[in-house]
């Protein structure tokens, strides 16, 4: 277990060294600019904009980081030949994959944590005080982290057998398709015969990102049900575990010579 933790810590350090957290500066500028500007050019939506823009930016920045770092996690190590040094020590291949996954999700968690502070600071600036419904923003942030878990595992899965460019294309495509998951389900319901079978299979196979997006609800101070929180958490963990297991299975059999 300590080997997994070491690999995770190194992955985190590497991401920080790659100046991944610099995106926080762009995020801070974006949010403070919007908080000040929107009050002057629109009507009555200052709080909404801070919540919508803040959470959307947290999500999109994280998605970009998850995809672009995730796809290089294995291939970069192979390119630099550091993978061989690691695997020549008593480190199992699955430990390497799991460590990389935990390291990347840890980076994204830290990133999200700082962005969340930014969102709440901007909210305090426009509303002058917090209200109890603001707590639902934490749930939306938690769902965004769950989204990152799924994306990191998918990026890692593709990275375990494909080139970085193709992995990026696959991961991003799945993110887009996953955002349309409910449309896909609707399409499956409307189809007949083989098409229905294929569409239903696709609808259940692709990750459902739309269920993890509650930004609109929390922006309007609507509560999120405990059931949704529980099911989304379980779903994200199950889906990530599935993708990580897939990555381990492929990587275990991959010829690294």
């Amino acid at each position: 277990m300590s080997r997994v933790v070491h690999i995770a810590a190194n992955t985190f350090r590497e991401a920080v060294r790659d100046r991944v957290l610099y995106n926080l500066i762009a995020f801070a500028l974006l949010l403070s600019g919007a908080a000040i500007l929107v009050g002057q050019i629109s009507i009555d939506i200052e709080r909404l904009v801070v919540v919508n823009l803040g959470l959307t930016a947290v999500s999109l920045f994280g998605v970009v980081i998850a995809i672009f770092i995730g796809i290089g996690l294995v291939s970069k190590e192979m390119e630099k030949r550091t993978l061989y040094t690691v695997l020549s020590r008593p480190v199992r291949r699955w430990e390497f994959i799991v460590g990389k996954f935990l390291g990347l999700t840890g980076t994204l968690f830290v990133n999200t944590f700082f962005m969340a502070i930014g969102v709440f600071a901007a909210l305090l600036y426009v509303s002058h005080r917090f209200q109890s419904s603001d707590a639902w923003i934490l749930v939306a942030l938690f769902f965004i982290v769950l989204q990152f878990l799924i994306l990191c595992s998918l990026a890692l899965l593709f990275s375990s057998f494909s080139s970085p460019l193709l992995s990026a294309v696959f991961a991003f495509s799945l993110f887009v398709i996953g955002s349309f998951a409910e449309d896909l389900r609707g399409f499956a319901r409307m189809s007949r015969g083989l098409t229905q079978g294929l569409a239903t299979a696709a609808a259940y196979l692709v990750p459902n990102f739309s269920a993890l997006n509650v930004i609109g609800q929390v922006a309007h101070e609507q509560p999120i049900s405990a059931h949704l929180i529980a099911y989304n958490t379980a779903y994200a963990l199950a889906y990530s575990a599935m993708a990580i297991c897939g990555a381990v299975l492929i990587f275990e059999r991959r010829n690294l010579k």
Partner: protein
């Protein structure tokens, strides 16, 4: 000068020159392309497609479209435009992206319904927008109030207005004024008292400064309309008694019909004309007055707050 220093100086100078030229060229490009070309284009006019392309981030996109609608209305309103072609599509997309954005229904309907130059002169679209809002937010009494208000003020359809207030009054936690308005509308629809009650309700049911100021302006205008009607009745009575028109308000005071020179709600005395009509001294102070404006009076361009 060392090689490195030479490169630094040259690159810095070229960078600044390029920046200045790009700013200058962009300015020229903006002049070449007319404002209308830039403004009147709605690249995607299908709410469904915009919703799909948002990848689930509909809230932020709705805020952007709402800001665009406000900017579009403001820029047209300030030049007293008669054509607001894009206003309804912009509001339609905004509310399709975020059906819970109540402010878009409330302000949007007030942008759409009034006649130009106050609004776009599209009361039917205003009603359609609020009805869509009610379908998506059936428990929000403010939308029923807005609907009744549109029917009463813009469409003069008192039966529909009463029906909307009645529907709103049944919503849980509805403002008690809705019950009163529904009853008043059914019995005294066209009366000035009903209008006053409606604008008082508009004032009482919002915290928004713009809506409150608008309500106050309307209430002041109603007071002027009421004053002028009353004063002209007194003038008519004086004429009946003396067979002459009063030369000034002093004649009416002398006859015991008035206690002093009557003044508008801003404190300026009314003008009594030779033909017995009563007018405002400064109609600019009362943008919504309907009675006895001087014949040469033309409303000033509306002020945006």
């Amino acid at each position: 000068m060392s090689g490195l220093r030479k490169v630094t100086v040259t690159a810095s100078v070229v960078l600044l020159l390029s920046l200045a030229s790009s700013v200058f060229l962009l300015g020229r490009l903006d002049q070449m392309r007319t404002t209308a070309t830039l403004e009147e284009v709605l690249y995607l006019n299908s709410p469904k497609w915009v919703r799909r392309l948002s990848l689930g981030y509909t809230g932020l996109l709705a805020d952007i479209y709402w800001t665009r609608a406000v900017q579009y209305f403001g820029s047209h309103h300030v030049v007293k435009a008669k054509d607001y072609n894009l206003l309804y599509p912009l509001l339609e997309i905004t509310t399709a992206l975020d059906p819970k954005l109540i402010v878009a229904y409330q302000f949007g309907a007030n942008f759409l319904a009034p006649k130009p130059p106050e609004g776009a002169g599209q009361p039917d679209q205003g009603v359609a927008l609020v009805e869509y809002g009610i379908r998506n937010n059936p428990d929000n009494w403010k939308l029923y109030y807005e609907l009744g208000f549109l029917y009463y003020v813009e469409k003069k359809d008192y039966a529909k207005a009463a029906e909307a207030f009645e529907r709103g009054a049944k919503v849980p936690h509805a403002h008690p004024l809705l019950h009163v308005l529904a009853a008043q509308m059914a019995q005294h629809a066209g009366e000035i008292q009903t209008s006053r009650m409606l604008w008082q309700a508009a004032y009482a049911t919002t915290q928004d400064e713009l809506i409150r100021k608008n309500a106050v302006d309307h209430l002041r205008a109603l007071k002027v309309d009421e004053d002028i009607t009353e004063l002209e009745k007194i003038v008519a009575r004086y004429r009946e008694q003396t067979g002459l028109l009063p030369p000034s308000f002093n004649a009416l005071i002398g006859a015991g019909m008035l206690f002093g020179v009557p003044a508008d709600p801003g404190g300026k005395p009314y003008k009594l004309l030779a033909d017995g009509r009563v007018e405002l001294q400064n109609p600019e102070d009362f943008p919504f007055v309907e009675k006895r404006l001087p014949p040469e009076y033309k409303p000033a361009p509306p002020k945006l707050h």
